[in-house]
Symmetry: C3
Subunit: 266 residues, 3 copies
């Protein structure tokens, strides 16, 4: 897969990425979008969500600090994206921890067609009807292998499913890609999961093959993480360097460093 | 213009700057206020907006992630500021991208007397009735020279208008000042526009000549940006250094480095 | 007091800390929780506050950008914590500046049993019925010695009261501890007060003696601040290093560097 080619397109087209997202990592998501090559717009009012989404090249819905009003705005933005066939990305942060989160994600999945669903192993397992232990927003344990659960979720929803972890997985239910880039500091900073969804959205805005787009986005942020870790002795300085390494990442460097392999679905 | 003298007053008086602002850059706005020499207070509840504004030395209204409830709080805070003749600053983030933003700014301009309006070229052009292309919060193209549009907006609203860009412009409709300080990294970090409004508010809180206050505020943050860029190889580390350079900026250094020239209105 | 032992327990048990907090420092509070050794979850919707709090090991309520809806969520989360006897921490940011803040804190104190109340001298004085000058969120002047006011507040509420300042004070109304660690850069970064409440909550989640937990939490963040200041020439870089020094702080280093002394209540 030529990830560098997608990054080149991203830098040239500077797609506008509309986020309806949580209050914790909203600044990080905006900044990582800019670093990747996109332009961020964050807007959650019900009164402008549909219009803002209609003007965007991709839409990210992240339920990290959801409210019922925000879910309504997500539905409106999502319908805009669906109608205009723009990529729509779901980040089901903390699904399974409360009934509000579970019911809201169920509603979003029922009413919208997502292009890509990005979660950690526990979130994906829960969405696929599996059993998992989640502590806040952290995946603690998943009762079964996440690969078949991710594939089942992809087939059920028609979305590409991206599972973040030590090795990231991407599947559309037919094919499985594994992204081996990354650094353990990513799990010691709040928001790298949310930021990953933003980067994937940037790539999906310029690459219609969402399996490739998700894998390329994962490879990009994880490659930047590897380079950032070389310059940092702790997670906070690492986060600063992560933005700067992604900003500076050349298409050639991404192509050279990407570690994407094909896996086997069971 | 003696920008250093205004900075000295700011550091001595530590004015309280009340913000009703967006969720993306709220932390950055608070921190840059502190770095400039002011004290920040962020409060957006309708139930306390008027009272908080009445206790503040300047008020900043930023529509970056507006909701109708927040606009109502802005009207109440703005009326407090107007009644007590405190400086009131508008940052019309993304105006023109949705009808909610356009209608809300129209309402704010109709009901409140702003001291200073700060925007990028596209935002100012749109407010002045011109035509501009805006992508999210980024000015892409303005159909005409922004100078006469800014001057017309200033004359129409009675506010000083500050236009950020490679060269910043400040006009009250009679005079035009150009601020030549700055660094291109500012456009690669989310929130430098919002932060600029906060710094201008700090200066306006201690300098009643708002044309001078806006120019001095722009010179201050842009001088800090020049110094920060010398210490940073990427935009994220640059942002960290921007805060620290503004914190450390002495009145003498500001006076020595400011590049403010007088321009000609057409 | 063996602060290192509490830190060891914290790192082993990784308690989940539920925050209902302000929009300004929500990211910082989440990151400092992770750095201390806990897991953060931020959730403010009335529809999930009680359920989220019931699954958490401690709950922090911070009124920095309060709204009436958020106060209702706080009441529900607080009742959950009280019912399950989990530590409940109050950070009464800016109390006394508006009637909304004063009335809201009064309601929280009337309906909930707090384990620890953490504030600056002005906030604690105001809660204790004293007179203080507060400018935004900054304590400017307190009319009387804060120690007897803190002790009175502790006796009245049944909570441990922690007062941040150049020397931090902790009292349960019977005993007084003084924490002499810290660095003046902490007052030049927005959010160190909020972050301190998060760290105290982490320690309280694993140490049932809340007087000891609060003192240990204060010693931990303030020790990290001392180490961070050695690596930073300004407050913004200091903040980055504060997270990394707390992440790296070993129980042995905390025990060796803590400066906790016993004081005398009048």
């Amino acid at each position: 897969m030529d990830t560098g080619k997608i990054l080149t397109a991203l830098r040239q087209r500077r797609p506008l990425i509309h986020h309806i997202t949580n209050q914790v990592t909203i600044s990080e998501c905006a900044n990582i979008t800019l670093a990747a090559g996109g332009l961020p717009i964050m807007a959650h009012a019900v009164e402008e969500a549909a219009e803002m989404a209609a003007g965007a090249d991709a839409v990210v819905l992240n339920i990290g600090t959801l409210t019922p009003a925000q879910i309504e705005a997500m539905l409106q933005a999502g319908r805009s994206a669906n109608k205009l066939q723009r990529p729509l990305i779901l980040d089901p942060v903390g699904v399974g921890t409360t009934s509000l989160r579970s019911a809201s994600v169920k509603k979003l999945l029922a009413e919208l067609q997502f292009s890509i669903i990005k979660g950690n192993a526990a979130e994906v397992a829960i969405l696929a009807g599996g059993v998992a232990e989640i502590k806040g927003v952290e995946a603690i344990a998943v009762s079964a292998d996440v690969v078949p659960l991710a594939a089942a979720l992809a087939r059920e929803t028609g979305a590409v499913v991206a599972v973040t972890g030590e090795v990231d997985l991407v599947t559309d239910g037919q094919q499985l890609l594994e992204v081996h880039n990354g650094h353990h500091f990513m799990s010691r900073v709040v928001g790298t999961g949310c930021m990953t969804a933003s980067v994937i959205a940037c790539f999906a805005a310029v690459e219609a093959n969402y399996l490739a787009a998700a894998a390329a986005g994962l490879a990009a942020i994880n490659t930047a993480a590897e380079l950032a870790a070389e310059e940092a002795d702790g997670p906070a300085l690492f986060k600063v360097k992560l933005f700067d390494q992604l900003s500076a990442l050349s298409p050639a460097a991404l192509t050279a460093r990407q570690k994407i392999t094909e896996g086997q679905l069971p």
